[in-house]
């Protein structure tokens, strides 16, 4: 009888070696500054989404306070602007001129009166103070900052994603194919970078119609160049590596080699670039709006708030500048720190 030695122990599961993303996430978790920055960024994005869906700051344009209403913590301060508005202008006492003998609308005067009387007009009472002060129309600055974040962050994020997509795609093409494609794209890139950045933005802004989508397109079309260069370099480096050759040997197509095999290995560069561009595009939106090329008149962004605030400072109304400036500084700093931590976490050499 031969004894067959059976091993009762189940086959050992192969050791899961953590992937690139898991490792990066673990490293990020250990980075305390990075986590705080991430929390701040998430908070801002949550605020933006809540504002976008109308959960908060829906009636930001409501004139709930007096002109330049004081912040609640400065309730006692004298408000000369509101006083001037309340004083009003001298109203002429004379009766309005009678037009009925020359007016083509005269036959329907009576009907007009009756209809007008049916339309109720409500006057709201204006508050003397608002939580963080009011702007010249008496709108709450706090709500304006929240509503403004919607435009600023949205523009920054979307434009950065678009610019990254353009830059990555073109960079991949140039780096992977080399030769004529590379020459052509390099030439294209050179044209773009030979024009000063701000000038290029202004040129685009002058050509396109005014609006939010325009700003996004402008920023994306002008911002892809840096990403393109970095991604191209990564692709040149990687396309000659063994793992890419191996992929070719098993019959992977060009597209799959470019975007399935190489892309994850260049992703640390791309992600870091993405978040850096979010920061610079938020700032660019502010500059565009400040120059009057940005958001339309019935929308608010941090840029338009800063533009409004420049003259308010002289008359002593600092809260709008502070609110918009502080939010922007906070978000931009948090994003920069997050970028820094991301770079550390994603760099494979730091394993």
């Amino acid at each position: 009888m031969s004894a067959v030695l059976t091993e009762n122990t189940p086959p050992r599961a192969p050791q899961e070696s953590p992937g690139l993303w898991t490792l990066a996430w673990r490293r990020l978790l250990q980075d305390r500054v990075g986590m705080v920055a991430l929390a701040v960024v998430i908070l801002f994005i949550a605020m933006m989404l809540a504002s976008f869906t109308g959960l908060i700051a829906r009636d930001w344009s409501k004139e709930s306070g007096v002109s330049y209403a004081n912040p609640a913590f400065l309730a006692g301060q004298e408000n000369l602007e509101a006083k001037a508005v309340a004083a009003g202008g001298a109203v002429s006492k004379a009766a309005p001129v009678d037009l009925s003998d020359v007016d083509p609308l005269a036959p329907r005067y009576k009907e007009w009166e009756e209809r007008a009387a049916k339309i109720a007009v409500t006057e709201t009472k204006r508050a003397e103070t608002l939580a963080f002060g009011g702007d010249k129309w008496g709108r709450d600055v706090l709500l304006k900052v929240i509503k403004g974040s919607e435009v600023s962050i949205f523009v920054g994020l979307v434009a950065a994603v678009l610019a990254t997509i353009i830059g990555t795609f073109l960079g991949a093409m140039a780096g992977y194919w080399g030769g004529k494609t590379n020459d052509f794209l390099e030439w294209f890139y050179n044209i773009f970078t030979s024009i000063p950045y701000i000038l290029l933005i202004l040129a685009f802004a002058a050509v396109f119609k005014k609006g939010l989508d325009t700003i996004i397109v402008i920023l994306a079309l002008t911002g892809w160049t840096g990403i393109y260069r970095l991604v191209r370099a990564e692709y040149i480096k990687h396309s000659a590596r063994e793992y890419v050759k191996a992929a070719q040997a098993i019959g992977a197509s060009h597209m799959s080699r470019m975007f399935i095999h190489i892309l994850p290995n260049a992703s640390h560069v791309i992600l870091v670039q993405l978040s850096q561009h979010v920061v610079s595009f938020i700032k660019a939106e502010v500059i565009l709006s400040f120059l009057g090329l940005g958001v339309p008149v019935d929308m608010v962004s941090w840029g338009t708030m800063l533009a409004e605030a420049q003259n308010e400072l002289v008359i002593g109304k600092w809260w709008q500048l502070f609110a918009a400036g502080a939010s922007m500084a906070l978000l931009v700093t948090a994003f920069s720190l997050l970028t820094d931590s991301l770079r550390d976490a994603l760099d494979p050499k730091l394993k």
Binding site: S92, A94, L99, P104, L105, I315
Partner: protein, 603 residues
């Protein structure tokens, strides 16, 4: 007349601070420097070619019109400037005879080949003819076109050959001898005397200079006036020195009875030789804040039109702030003889037209736009609502006239829109065009308001947007620089726009030119054409200022309010502040050549 650019853009000129020691008061003391800022850049220094307020200010101080104004008299009073006496008006107000004072000389210029050049009657004849030269393309031509005998024929001929024959003797405009010249009008025009004081129409340029510099004459102002251009950095800085060869002219002005400030100025300066300051430095600072701060830091001796946003800190309630009072500053505050308005393009398929339905849309927009909050918030209470197109203080202005359009009444506005079928038929929240039958296709519409992309325009736009939202009209904004808007407007490409208008002669007529049909595409931006209105306009033109003419103006105002080619805006209150050492400034409603009446006294 000037279209005034309401709002400047982003150019910041360099500031120069100079500290000057007090100097003994002598005529045109070269150590006395008067510095201030323009809010909009100059365009040219050719009197025939400029129509903007700031270039016009320069030319009025460099060139000489035949007549001028008494600096302190209110209402405005004409006085001879280069004429020996006031013109003789004969033949029922159609023949004007002017006699130029002998011994007035142009400043030296290479065009004169080293010779002294005296101002003669022929210079005025030539300068007025220049407005009719098709090559000059004068924006001021419309003010004279059609009024001077024989001029229209000469103009028609010149347009055909593209060359104006300056040597041809014209019946309506010619020199009788070296110092005497005559103008013959086709019909009486009571504004013509004012034209003789309006530099853009009648300032004397020398023919040699125009021919010497050709197209560049706008860069070489060679005049007989109190100042001459000595340094020019385009759109940034201009320096004018007192003309050393300026004729003997002493300060003489008569303030109205009861004007204590004016009397004090007159008492201090009476008999002084003009000009009194030796140098004028003008900087172009378009942004309000640096302009205001340059003044507060004593880098400027005067601030013209304190930016509205600083009104409540500079003069709360119209009284100079205590801290500025302590510094000895002087505030001069008057409603400007001017107007802001927003026009509707009358040829536009949506907002234009003369049928009741179209009138109703415009009238509803007028009723639904809140001028009151535009004044109190956007203009910081530095304006009064306009009830008629006529600027305050102009002859023909009736301060008791109250328009039906002055009230802000969204309920009446909505009712009117409902009545004429401007209802929301597609459910997108905006009102749509009226349909003849309920089964007709629902056509949506929006209104495009053109405005310049400047900080001070923004609250005005916000107010429009807010008000139009409230009555359900979809308003959008077209942003372009002011000169581009002007071009687009003259080409009839704008649907709505709000330019400003300042009077150049103190008469209601200069405001009604903007509504006179034949001026469509020029001063008449709305292209408003109503035969009845035009008839009344011509009728008023033949009458002197008085109750009879005012009755016609009242009729014109009523027609204007009925057809509503504009949303009447405001008359701005203009506030100027002088430093304590700046003596003698008073805002004159129309006279721009005021530099010679200013003195600096730092002791």
């Amino acid at each position: 007349m000037y279209s005034t650019r309401l709002l400047p853009a982003l150019v910041i000129a360099g500031l120069l601070a100079t500290g000057l020691a007090p100097a003994p008061s002598a005529a045109a003391d070269s150590s006395k420097v008067f510095r201030y800022a323009f809010r909009v850049a100059e365009t040219s220094f050719d009197p025939a070619a400029v129509s903007d307020l700031y270039s016009s200010t320069v030319i009025a101080n460099v060139f000489d019109a035949p007549l001028g104004y008494d600096f302190l008299a209110r209402p405005s009073k004409l006085v001879p400037n280069t004429l020996a006496e006031m013109p003789t008006v004969s033949e029922g107000g159609t023949l004007y005879t002017m006699r130029v004072k002998p011994g007035i000389y142009f400043i030296d210029d290479p065009a004169f080949h080293g010779k002294k050049r005296e101002l003669v009657a022929e210079d005025y004849v030539y300068s007025i003819k220049r407005l009719f030269d098709p090559k000059v393309k004068s924006p001021n031509l419309y003010q004279l076109e059609g009024y001077i005998l024989g001029m229209d024929e000469a103009l028609a001929k010149a347009r055909k050959t593209n060359r104006f024959d300056f040597d041809e003797r014209l019946e309506g405009l010619h020199a009788l001898d070296r110092y005497t010249w005559q103008v013959r009008l086709k019909q009486p025009n009571y504004n013509f005397l004012y034209y003789l004081a309006h530099c853009n129409l009648t300032c004397a340029v020398a023919r040699e200079v125009v021919e010497h510099y050709g197209e560049k004459v706008g860069e070489h102002p060679v005049g007989t006036g109190p100042f001459k251009l000595t340094f020019w950095k385009r759109s940034s800085k201009m320096v004018f020195d007192a003309n050393p060869a300026y004729r003997q002219e002493t300060y003489d002005a008569t303030p109205p009875a009861g004007d204590a400030g004016g009397e004090a100025i007159a008492a201090t300066l009476k008999g002084r030789k003009m000009p009194m300051v030796g140098r004028i430095e003008v900087y172009v600072i378009e942004e309000p804040q640096p302009r205001w701060l340059a003044f507060l830091n004593n880098e400027h001796d005067f601030v013209e039109r304190v930016p509205e946003e600083f009104a409540t800190v500079a003069f709360p309630g119209g009284v100079l702030a205590p801290n500025l009072q302590r510094r000895g500053m002087v505030l001069d505050r008057n409603p400007g003889m001017e107007l802001t308005y927003s026009y509707f393009a009358m040829q536009d398929p949506v907002v234009g037209g003369y049928e009741p339905q179209k009138i109703a849309l415009r009238r509803a927009i007028v009723l639904g736009q809140d001028v009151g909050s535009e004044i109190s918030i956007a203009r910081k209470s530095q304006a009064i609502p306009a009830h008629s197109p006529i600027g305050p203080g102009a002859s023909g202005y009736d301060e008791n006239f109250r328009s039906t359009a002055s009230e802000y009444n969204p309920a009446k506005s909505k009712a009117l829109l409902d009545m004429y079928g401007y209802v929301d038929c597609n459910g997108d929240g905006w009102r749509d065009l009226p349909r003849e039958k309920p089964a007709d296709e629902c056509k949506s519409f929006s209104i495009e308001y053109a405005s310049a992309p400047n900080a001070d325009q923004k609250p005005i736009d916000e107010n429009w947007k807010k008000n139009m939202d409230a009555i359900g009209i979809n308003m959008r904004f077209k942003k372009a620089k002011w000169p581009d808007l002007l071009k687009a407007s003259q080409a009839g490409k704008l649907q709505m726009w709000g330019p400003g208008w300042s009077a150049t002669v103190p008469d209601a007529d200069v405001f009604f030119v903007m509504l006179y049909g034949p001026n469509a595409g020029q001063a008449n931006h709305a292209r408003f054409q109503l035969p009845e209105f035009d008839r009344l306009y011509l009728q008023a033109k033949r009458l002197p200022d008085g109750p009879e003419r005012n009755a016609i103006y009242r009729e014109m105002n009523r027609l204007f309010l009925v057809y509503a080619p504009w949303r009447l805006g405001t008359h701005r209150i203009l506030s100027d502040i002088s430093q304590p050492w700046t003596i003698g400034y008073r805002r004159h409603p129309v006279m721009r050549g005021w530099w010679k009446y200013i003195d600096i006294n730092r002791s």
